[in-house]
């Protein structure tokens, strides 16, 4: 039931109470101070009170549902904001926006991502409890016992960080019965290291591509005594002719020290800055803020740069040439390869470019095992 408190001048007290009785208005409680009397009546009786009581009165408050309604009405903006904040807070603590799988092998990453998605660990999904995550881990490891060694799922903020260890089963090497070591390139033999078979060539011999270097046929006095799978490594000198075209002028960028901040929004249909950029030439640094429902918001720092062209010195050009030769010959990736000698055959200089032809001698592995 709803109640109201009414405030009336104390001089009307007795007449008021008699009037309330005569009009069958129930007075549930009374209070008094020096000047006023306060009556507690029901909302239903209030209608009768309004019609029948002629004294001046004031409604000062309610009790029960009426009071709650009046408080809600008075502070409705506050309560609405509170509800919105709670909803946002709930989402931020219970929604996972990204699943990051850490592994160098793309195939493993895709496999794990797909399995996690099927189990409910995916972008823009509700956060799973610790027990659920452990269960999913076990299920995925049991699903791929030959591919996955170990799986760890960590909840960090609004992201799942998944670390994987691949199971590497060493394939048993099938021992071949009969094989030769042959040359893969034309070269001059420099070093022969072998453990099985018979070396046909010696150091400083010139061999062509396809020539047998270490034979699997063991002979004595021109008679075949046995057959093995030859194994070994042969290093040879290979000659290369390389032409390089190096620009003499290089464009470099220098920071001015000016910085501007911006926001970037990217999704399937949009990938651009939110505010107009105030710098003409700049380098950007992006810091990912959050991803929600397929859209990513990033904080962008724009650093102003000036571009200028510089002419490279001879030493710089030589260094660039050296690096390019190494790239072309894959020197960095192959530990058996090294450049022994390098000579410039032709050199042509014009305004913008330097064209050079090099003769390069490389010591590298030229052997390959082949069955016969």
């Amino acid at each position: 039931m709803n109640y109201l408190w009414l405030k009336i001048n104390k001089k009307y007290k007795n007449r008021l109470l008699i009037k309330c009785y005569k009009k069958k208005i129930t007075v549930y409680d009374t209070k008094e101070d020096n000047s006023f009397i306060y009556l507690k009546i029901s909302s239903e009786d209030y209608k009768t009170f309004q019609k029948s009581i002629i004294f001046k009165y004031q409604v000062i408050g309610g009790c029960g549902p009426n009071k709650i309604k009046s408080i809600l009405k008075k502070y409705h903006i506050f309560f609405f904001s509170l509800i919105v904040v709670f909803i946002i807070f709930f989402f931020l603590t219970h929604i996972m926006t990204k699943v990051i799988v850490i592994h160098s092998n793309k195939e493993i990453r895709e496999l794990v991502t797909k399995s996690l998605k099927e189990k409910g660990i995916k972008e823009n999904s509700f956060k799973k409890s610790y027990q659920e995550i452990q269960k999913i881990k076990e299920e995925i490891l049991n699903l791929y016992p030959t591919k996955l060694e170990w799986l760890e799922i960590e909840v960090k903020g609004m992201n799942y960080i998944v670390r994987v260890e691949e199971r590497k089963i060493k394939e048993e090497e099938v021992e071949k019965d009969r094989c030769n070591i042959i040359a893969t390139k034309d070269a001059i033999i420099k070093k022969i290291i072998y453990s099985k078979g018979e070396a046909i060539v010696e150091a400083n011999d010139y061999v062509k591509k396809g020539d047998i270097l270490i034979s699997g046929v063991l002979k004595k006095d021109e008679e075949e005594k046995g057959v093995v799978c030859a194994s070994g490594k042969v290093l040879g000198e290979v000659w290369y002719k390389i032409t390089l075209n190096i620009p003499k002028v290089k464009e470099i960028t220098e920071p001015t020290g000016k910085k501007r901040w911006n926001l970037k929004l990217s999704n399937n249909t949009y990938n651009d800055l939110i505010f107009k950029s105030r710098l003409d030439n700049y380098q950007t640094e992006e810091h990912h803020l959050f991803t929600l429902f397929g859209s990513t918001l990033s904080f962008v720092v724009q650093k102003e740069i000036t571009k200028k062209t510089v002419t490279l010195s001879n030493e710089e050009l030589k260094q660039i040439a050296e690096d390019e030769i190494k790239d072309k010959l894959n020197i960095k990736d192959d530990e058996d390869k090294e450049i022994i000698d390098k000579k410039i055959l032709t050199e042509e200089i014009n305004d913008d470019n330097l064209t050079m032809e090099f003769f390069v001698v490389v010591l590298e592995k030229i052997s390959q095992s082949i069955e016969f």
């Binding site: 007795n14 109470l17 009785y21 069958k24 129930t26 007075v27 409680d29 009374t30």
Partner: protein
């Protein structure tokens, strides 16, 4: 309603009753209030008038049939 009235009559089988405490008086089933002020309250009951005299009377609760009065009671008189 008949059942309710029957129950009420069973539970409250008196036409009226008074409860008197040190500083309170409760009257059930009066018909009218004749006088009501800080020193004198006169209630019309079915067959008589109830006069309550004292000081600093204050009505705490008032319904169609019941009244609870707080104050210093000096005299309670039944006038038939």
């Amino acid at each position: 309603m008949n059942l309710y009235q029957t129950m009420q009559k069973f539970l409250l089988d008196k036409n009226y009753y008074l409860d008197i405490w040190d500083t309170y008086i409760h009257v059930y089933n009066f018909i009218d209030i004749e006088t009501l002020n800080e020193k004198l309250i006169v209630l019309n009951m079915e067959n008589f008038k109830l006069e309550i005299t004292g000081e600093d009377f204050r009505v705490l609760k008032l319904t169609k049939k019941e009244i609870l009065i707080e104050g210093i009671l000096n005299n309670v008189r039944i006038n038939r």
